[in-house]
C-alpha cells in the first residue's frame, strides 16, 4: 500500500516536473525561438555572476518578478473569485495530464508500473471534461475584475473555448472509431501495430484530416496566436487585464501548460504516444526480420524519451505557428470553428465509418 502511494507520488512528481518545467521553459523557448525566426538574438541579459546561459535565467527572473510584484486588486473586484480565478485556470490545465501515458510498463523489482498517472478507462472523456472546466477560470477572473474590458475579453474567451470544445470532441471521433477505445494507454498501444508489416499504425496516418483539425482546434483551445482574440493585450485587451504579479503569471502559465497539454494529447492520439517504431516490449523487431533485444528499463527509457521528443516537436510546431500566423478576427474564429471545422469533422466521421464498414 505504502509502496503504491510512493509510486503514485513519484509518477506525480515526474509528471508535474515534466509539465511545469516544460511550461516554464516555454517562456524561454517563446523568446528564443521567435528571435531566431525573426533574425534576432532574443533574451540574453539576465545573468547570475556574469553567466548568462543563453537567456535561460530569464525564466527565473520572470518567476521572481511575478512573485515579488505588487498583486493589485481593483476596489470593486469580487475579492474571492478574483483571487481564485487564476488558480482554477491553472488547476484544470494541469490535472489533464493525469491520464496521459508517457510510457508502457516499467518493471522494477518484479512490480509492474504503468507509466500513466491515472489509468482511467474513460481517459479521453476525462480530458474533455477537464478541458471544459478551464473556461471557468477565465470567465470568473474576467467577471470578478469588474472591468468592462476584462469582461469583454472573458466573454470572447468563453465563446471561443466553448465553441471549439464542440469541435474538439467531434474531431477525434473518427480516430476513436478506429481505436475502438477511449482509454488512452490502450489507444497508444493500438498504435504500436504496423500496417502491411512495416508502416506504424499511428493515428496521423489513419486519420490525417482528423489530425489537422484536432491540431487546429487544440491551438484554439490554448487561446494563443492565431486564436488569441480573448487576450490580445496590446490591442483589444484581454480577460486578465486587472491581474498583475502571480495572478497574471498563473494565467500565462495556463497558456503554456495548455500548449504542452495539446502537444501531449496530439502525440498520444495521433503520433503513437510513447511508441517507438518497431520497438516491442522486448526490443526492436524490424520489418526486415532483424531483432535487437533490450531490457525492460531500456525499453521504458526509449518510450519515455520518444514521448518527450514528440511532445517537444509539437511544442516547436506550435511555437512556429504562433510566430508565423497573424491573429484571426473574432468573427473569423467563430466562422472557422462552426462553419468549417465542425462540418468537415462530421464528414470525416462519416467517411471513416464508411471505410470501417467496408473493410469489415
Amino acid at each position: 500500500m505504502v509502496e503504491g502511494i510512493g509510486i503514485v507520488l513519484l509518477k506525480l512528481a515526474f509528471v508535474l516536473l515534466f509539465v511545469l518545467n516544460f511550461g516554464g521553459l516555454l517562456t524561454w523557448v517563446e523568446r528564443k525561438q521567435s528571435a531566431l525566426m525573426q533574425d534576432r538574438i532574443g533574451a540574453n541579459r539576465a545573468s547570475i555572476f556574469g553567466i548568462r546561459l543563453i537567456g535561460l535565467f530569464h525564466t527565473i527572473a520572470d518567476a521572481v518578478k511575478m512573485f515579488t510584484k505588487e498583486s493589485f486588486r481593483p476596489v470593486a473586484a469580487e475579492k474571492f473569485l478574483f483571487t481564485i480565478g487564476p488558480g482554477i485556470s491553472v488547476f484544470f490545465a494541469l490535472v489533464g495530464f493525469a491520464v496521459i501515458p508517457f510510457g508502457d510498463v516499467l518493471i522494477i523489482g518484479g512490480k509492474e508500473i504503468n507509466l500513466q498517472l491515472a489509468p482511467l478507462n474513460i481517459g479521453v472523456l476525462y480530458l474533455f471534461a477537464v478541458a471544459g472546466m478551464a473556461v471557468y477560470g477565465v470567465v470568473l477572473g474576467a467577471w470578478a475584475s469588474k472591468n468592462n474590458f476584462a469582461l469583454l475579453g472573458g466573454l470572447r474567451a468563453s465563446a471561443q473555448m466553448i465553441s471549439y470544445e464542440v469541435a474538439l470532441g467531434v474531431t477525434i471521433i473518427g480516430s476513436l472509431m478506429i481505436y475502438q477505445t477511449v482509454e488512452l494507454q490502450e489507444i497508444v498501444r493500438w498504435q504500436g501495430g504496423t500496417l502491411w508489416g512495416w508502416l506504424p499504425k499511428w493515428g496521423v496516418l489513419m486519420q490525417p484530416v482528423g489530425f489537422i483539425l484536432f491540431l487546429t482546434v487544440g491551438i484554439a483551445q490554448s487561446k494563443r496566436v492565431p486564436f488569441d482574440a480573448p487576450e490580445g493585450e496590446s490591442e483589444i485587451i484581454g480577460y486578465f487585464l486587472e491581474y498583475s504579479g502571480m495572478g497574471f503569471g498563473m494565467y500565462m502559465l495556463t497558456d503554456f501548460v495548455e500548449t504542452v497539454m495539446i502537444s501531449a494529447i496530439t502525440v498520444t492520439l495521433f503520433l503513437g504516444g510513447w511508441q517507438v517504431p518497431y520497438l516491442m516490449a522486448d526490443g526492436f523487431h524490424f520489418p526486415w526480420g532483424a531483432t535487437w533485444q533490450l531490457e525492460n528499463w531500456a525499453v521504458a527509457l526509449l518510450q519515455v524519451g520518444s514521448f518527450t521528443l514528440k511532445v517537444m516537436f509539437f511544442l516547436w510546431l506550435q511555437m512556429t505557428i504562433r510566430w508565423t500566423l497573424p491573429r484571426f478576427r473574432y468573427d473569423q474564429i467563430m466562422r472557422l470553428g462552426w462553419k468549417y471545422i465542425l462540418p468537415i469533422s462530421l464528414v470525416n466521421i462519416l467517411i471513416t465509418g464508411l471505410i470501417i464498414t467496408l473493410l469489415k
Binding site: Q33, L36, M37, R40, I41, T320, I321, T324
Partner: protein, 197 residues
C-alpha cells in the same frame, strides 16, 4: 455595394488556406534552422560574424535617435537663466494624460514677461510621450530632445520631474542623427558598429 468586390476573388488553393500556412511556416522554419545553426556555430567559436541577427546590443551600442523621436522633457531657458515658460498652461490643457502640473507666479519686475511658473511638474509615470505639450507651447519652452530614454524609478514620486531638473537638462545632440542639406543622413556611426565584440 459589397466592399469585397474590389478584391480579387481567392482561388481554390488560397481558399484552402492550409498551403499558405504551410508555406509561411516553411519560411519561418527555414529562418529558424538557419539561425539556430549559425548561433550554435558562433557559440562554439566556429564563426565570428554576427550573421543570423540584426539586433543591436542596446546598452553597449546606442542607436542614433531621429530628430522626431520624443524623449524626456526639458524646459528651455532665457538668456538670463530664467525659464522661458510663461505658465500659460497650454501644455497642461492639451495633455491627454493630465500629467503636467503648473502653478503660475506673477513676475511684475519684468512686465514684458509678467508670468512665470512657480512650479512645473511632469509626472512621467502618467506621461504617454505624445509630444502634444511641445506642439502646444507658444514660446518653445518645453522640448523633448534630451535623448533620455531610460526612465525608471523605484517610487511613484520619483517619476515626477520638477522644474529645477527640467531646466538643467540639456539637449543630447550627439545621439541624434544629423542630416545634410539634401536631407540625407550623415551620421550613422552607431549603425555601423561591429556587433561581434
Amino acid at each position: 455595394m459589397n466592399i469585397h468586390d474590389k478584391y480579387k476573388p481567392l482561388t481554390f488553393w488560397e481558399k484552402l488556406y492550409l498551403p499558405a500556412i504551410i508555406s509561411g511556416l516553411w519560411l519561418t522554419s527555414m529562418h529558424f534552422f538557419r539561425n539556430l545553426t549559425l548561433h550554435i556555430l558562433r557559440a562554439l567559436r566556429l564563426r565570428k560574424t554576427a550573421d543570423g541577427a540584426v539586433t543591436i546590443q542596446y546598452p553597449e551600442f546606442l542607436r542614433p535617435l531621429f530628430p522626431r523621436l520624443r524623449t524626456m522633457h526639458r524646459l528651455t531657458k532665457r538668456d538670463d537663466g530664467t525659464p522661458r515658460c510663461v505658465a500659460c498652461m497650454m501644455c497642461e490643457t492639451v495633455c491627454p494624460a493630465k500629467c503636467i502640473y503648473i502653478i503660475a507666479d506673477e513676475k511684475l519686475e519684468n512686465p514684458e514677461i509678467e508670468k512665470m511658473p512657480e512650479s512645473f511638474d511632469i509626472d512621467l509615470g502618467l506621461c504617454i510621450f505624445c509630444g502634444y505639450c511641445v506642439e502646444a507651447c507658444p514660446v518653445d519652452a518645453i522640448r523633448m530632445d534630451t535623448g533620455i530614454l531610460e526612465i525608471s524609478n523605484l517610487t511613484r514620486k520619483g517619476m515626477v520631474l520638477d522644474m529645477e531638473t527640467m531646466l538643467n537638462l540639456e539637449p543630447m545632440q550627439d545621439r541624434y542623427v544629423k542630416y545634410t542639406k539634401e536631407g540625407e543622413i550623415v551620421s550613422q556611426e552607431y549603425l555601423k558598429q561591429d556587433l561581434s565584440k
